[in-house]
């Protein structure tokens, strides 16, 4: 079973940080870094939605979404690209956890 080095790295990364809280903490970090927000991680409570954070517009949400995809090495399914999910940080963390925990696609030689 062949996996690429990037996929191997991602599997190892997710094995080390598999708790939902860890994923959520990374999501918050990506939010702050990708949008250069002038707030601390602790200022973002777990139940907070993006609507309550600095009044972010849809372009900022998009910027955040693509940064998440790079961080976790996933691609959010286009059916899931809804503001209702992307603005709900805990729900987003759960989704990322489920996608990242799924077996990666691999090239299987015949």
């Amino acid at each position: 079973m062949k996996t690429t080095s990037i996929e191997t790295t991602n599997i190892k990364t997710m094995n080390m940080e598999t708790t939902r809280d860890d994923v959520l903490a990374r999501v918050r970090r990506v939010l702050i870094d990708s949008l250069s927000l002038n707030i601390e991680e602790d200022d973002l409570r777990y139940s907070e939605s993006l609507d309550q954070v600095m009044g972010l517009d849809s372009l900022a949400v998009l910027e955040f979404t693509t940064a998440l995809e790079k961080e976790f090495g996933i691609m959010i399914e286009h059916e899931k690209l809804e503001l209702s999910l992307l603005r709900d940080l805990p729900a987003l963390a759960r989704y990322i956890q489920s996608v990242a925990a799924a077996p990666p696609a691999s090239d299987t030689p015949a």
Binding site: D57, S58, L59, A60, V61, L62, E63, T66, H78, L81, E82, L83, L86
Partner: protein, 355 residues
Amino acid sequence: MRSMFGAIEPPPKSFKMPPKLSEARSSGEFCPAVERPGSRRPFFAVKDFLWLFYLYPFRLTAALLPARLFLMFNRLVDPVCQWLTFSRKRAIRRHLEAAKRFHEIEHDLDQATDGLITNTVRRATDDLILHKLAARGLNCTRIHGLGYLADALARGKGVILLSGHFYAHRIARRHREKLGYPTLSVRNGKPPDAAMGRIGQRFLHQRYVEYLHGVIRDEVLIQDPECTLKIFKRLREGGIVHIYLDAGGTELRASSEAKKPLWLPFLGTLRPFPTGFMQIARLSGCAMIPLLCLGDSRGFTITFDDPANLRHDAGSEEFVTANLPRLVADLESKILKHPREWELWGISERSTYLP
């Protein structure tokens, strides 16, 4: 008087609006198309009457008539419209003259002005045809560069078709759907219209927006809070999105730095250009293909250029300043070659004429 940037060249990155112009703009001195502070719309304008007639008795009657009768109607109505739209023709003429100070326009300005009114009437009847039909009765005479579109779509990251407000784009869009290339249009749901009276603005404007939705169908309005996401979704699905590059109306409110419009010289004016779509292109990695559609339902052409060579190795702001001026310059050159086909002459709500 030549443009400081040459005939049709993009402005240098270092271009900043001269302080004199910015003062003039804020004082309203060089904004002939903008309603000056304190001015009030008339209660009922000529355009209100035209729209009332179009949206109600004519549209309802047209639903029962064959499309070929619209051509006869065009010929009858054109002289009347030429006479009624005197103030619009004055604004068109002024804009054409401003453009001619900086660029070569080979067409006679009077003929171009009359031709623009004729095309406006023609487009109004083409919209009725689109409302009635699938793509029957639309005569596409030529398509160039379809291979560019197909190759770009094959990459799987979607395509943004970039164009100006040329009259033929709606009928061309319907034809592309028929060929198997459905396109999401991005539209302003509250287009400003300084020519409408208060009655028209209050009662007819919204009706017109709803009517256009029946013509265009597959669209997202910029007022939709999920507009950006819907565009991104379509691109992520490997689809096509149509963006009007010259949509610089009053709805451009910069809710973030990333969406701030970029002011560029354009056809003798200084005009704001939207930048939000550039950020979407940067984030999605989609291709951007300039599109030109000319003609009307009796015969039209569609031309896809080769995909724009975008500089992706840039940050958010640099991506816009490195790429947008070239795209604008390309659009400008197309308009100057076909001035009768561009519908926004004299409509420049936030533009400033260059001295």
